[in-house]
């Protein structure tokens, strides 16, 4: 049992990093506009399928890893400008419903284009195989995923805290009207913010496709843990999303190891405990979103 513990711990952290990055994208969009993007999983799936099609047409995995999320961002920004924007003035609930409808359309469209069954999408040969770490051996691709996700999260943190535009974005979360009065085009800000969230989802989508498989519903499978991540980490807190994601990843991997039957339910139990002790979530700010 102890022999399995180390790799399973590491697996949990990689899985948690996925949840974290999806939750970060969700949080970004939610914090600024109050939109719960139910189509977030669809954008992940879209990026995964795009990467699959690109590799199938002979491009390298590395190119696909960058290009597929970027195409997903273009689609995402187009959707934001045309369909989500009219709903900003209304209650946030309407944008939740609208994006839910979009996810239904997307799921069926994926099935039409890429077939009802999952498609094989494997990591490149350079990342195949395992590496021995002395006390355990671990798939190279998972280490690569961990590195990419850490870089993405670090880059986001840098952007939000160290660049002017990132600061404006955070300021807009506090007070959008004031930021607009000070001369920032908030409509561009909304679009950039949405695109950023989709870009994170896209990267996670491509990596998840190669690690967990690719089908028309594969993105949605990661969406629910990401929601739980946001709740546990606390709405309004990006740091909370990272910690929450890792916590859930570890919880799931540990219950899979010790009580396999409870692997899916475990994160909800964790969520219930967190809510009892701290209703706003671990790092949530009181007052934001009730």
């Amino acid at each position: 049992m102890l022999h399995d513990l180390a790799p399973q711990l590491f697996n949990g952290l990689v899985l948690g990093a996925f949840y974290a990055i999806v939750a970060l994208g969700l949080s970004l969009i939610m914090n600024l506009t109050g939109t719960i993007n139910m189509a977030h999983g669809s954008f992940m799936t879209l990026a995964g399928y795009l990467a699959y099609s690109l590799v199938l047409r002979g491009t390298s995995f590395w190119f696909a890893l960058l290009a597929a999320p970027l195409i997903a961002v273009m689609v995402g920004v187009a959707v934001e400008r045309t369909l989500v924007r009219p709903l900003y003035r209304r209650e946030p609930f309407y944008s939740l419903l609208m994006t839910f409808g979009l996810s239904l359309i997307a799921e069926e469209a994926f099935r039409l284009i890429w077939g009802a069954n999952g498609v094989p999408f494997s990591p490149p040969a350079a990342l195949a195989g395992t590496v021995s770490l002395g006390f355990m051996s671990f798939p190279v691709f998972r280490i690569f995923i961990a590195v990419v996700l850490i870089i993405a999260i670090a880059a986001l943190a840098f952007f939000l805290t160290r660049t002017r535009y990132g600061l404006r974005l955070r300021a807009a979360v506090q007070d959008t009207e004031m930021i607009a009065a000070l001369g920032t085009n908030t409509q561009v800000l909304y679009a950039v913010n949405f695109g950023l969230g989709i870009f994170l989802a896209g990267i996670a989508g491509v990596l998840a496709a190669a690690m967990l498989g690719l089908s028309s519903t594969s993105g949605n499978a990661l969406l629910m843990p990401a929601f739980v991540t946001v709740i546990i980490g606390g709405m309004g807190s990006l740091f909370g999303s990272v910690i929450g994601g890792l916590l859930i990843g570890l919880t799931i991997s540990m219950t899979t190891l010790f009580i396999p039957a409870a692997s899916e339910v475990s994160m909800y139990i964790l969520m219930a405990i967190v809510l009892m002790v701290r209703p706003r979530g671990l790092f949530g700010e009181e007052g934001i979103f009730g």
């Binding site: 209304r90 946030p92 939740l96 409808g101 979009l102 629910m224 739980v228 039957a261 969520m271």
Partner: protein
């Protein structure tokens, strides 16, 4: 609508529905579809109470619906109970679910409430999915439709009998629902939707009101789910899934949030539309998604809500019930409650 006219409309609707089994063959509609409409309406009403009246994004009512269906399925399969007892068990299971989740859901408002109900609702999906030995897991569980009444005087329930049972339950539910939303309790729920802080300042414990609303909602969804399970003689994990919750919300928006008749109209269009479209094309889901998007963007009041607004504009002098229709553009600020 004045009280007299309302009773008249209700009576006419009931009479028309009572002839359902005669009308259905004329328009080549299966009677089970009409039963499904009536049963589904209860679930839509349950969402309506929370979302349309109280302003809480109830995106997890499939949990109670599914608990109702599984409650009926499990009690019929393992305890061999009769029809009415199966419905009772389903309803009790749903209310128990509401009692369990309520304290957690109550902690937050606005979209956070929505997020919590989506997430907690999914727990039951995974339980049904995982406990294969008892629930049949992903394949679901088939079960025979039990007969009504005690063993010595039982009536077997064919499709037509089922329809009339559904109609009676539907009629009772509509009357009860109207009584609830027109009572001081129901008015308070609407006040909570409009401004919860103010209701609190008036000295009312809004948490308690919302909890009771949640339990009523769970009860209605549970009865609906139990009848649905008994209608199709089948319970499967996907009826507990959040997609199912989303469909209920769509039906409510389609018909008109915060209107009693809207729930029936929404369920009618959805269930019959699904039946017709899915025989023409396998792309039913794209239609459904498009209806979602179109409804939210262009038609937020829904059918009954829009008609209601039109009628009111024409006859402002009449007895106006200002808070009957859900005004999408009113400054309600549901999303950023206390």
């Amino acid at each position: 609508m004045t009280q007299g006219r309302e009773i008249a409309v209700f009576a006419i609707a009931l009479v028309v529905l009572a002839f359902g089994p005669l009308i259905c063959p004329l328009i080549q509609l299966d009677i089970t579809i009409l039963s499904e409409v009536l049963v589904t309406t209860l679930a839509v009403l349950s969402v309506n109470l929370l979302l349309g009246y109280t302003g809480l994004p109830a995106f997890g009512n499939a949990a109670y619906f599914g608990l109702g269906a599984y409650g009926a399925a499990l009690s019929v399969t393992y305890l061999h109970v009769n029809f009415e007892f199966a419905v009772l068990v389903g309803a009790a299971a749903a209310v128990a679910g509401g009692l369990l989740l309520g304290p957690f859901l109550l902690r937050r408002r606005g979209i956070y409430f929505g997020l919590l109900s989506i997430a907690f609702g999914q727990v039951f999906y995974f339980i049904a999915y995982r406990y294969t030995d008892v629930t049949g897991g992903e394949d679901g569980m088939n079960f025979p439709r039990p007969s009504l009444g005690p063993g010595f005087a039982h009536i077997s329930i064919k499709e037509v009998q089922f329809y009339y049972i559904a109609l009676i339950v539907f009629a009772v539910a509509m009357v009860a629902f109207r009584a609830v939303v027109r009572s001081p309790f129901g008015r308070t729920l609407v006040a909570i939707r409009q401004n919860e802080v103010r209701v609190r300042y008036l000295g009312l414990d809004t948490d308690r009101f919302i909890f009771v609303a949640l339990l009523i909602s769970a009860l209605m969804a549970g009865v609906s789910g139990a009848l649905f399970g008994l209608l199709i003689n089948f319970a499967y994990p996907l009826i507990l899934d959040w997609h199912q919750s989303g469909n209920f919300v769509l039906m409510m928006i389609l018909g008109g949030a915060g209107t009693i008749w809207g729930s029936l109209v929404g369920a009618l269009i959805y269930v019959i539309g699904k039946d017709i479209i899915s025989t023409i094309t396998p792309l039913w889901q794209i239609f459904l998604g498009a209806v979602f998007v179109a409804c939210v963007l262009g038609f937020p009041r829904g059918i009954v809500g829009s008609i209601g607004a039109l009628v009111r504009r024409r006859a402002v002098s009449e007895d106006v019930s200002a808070n009957e229709a859900f005004d999408a553009n009113a400054p309600i600020e549901v999303g950023r409650g206390v």
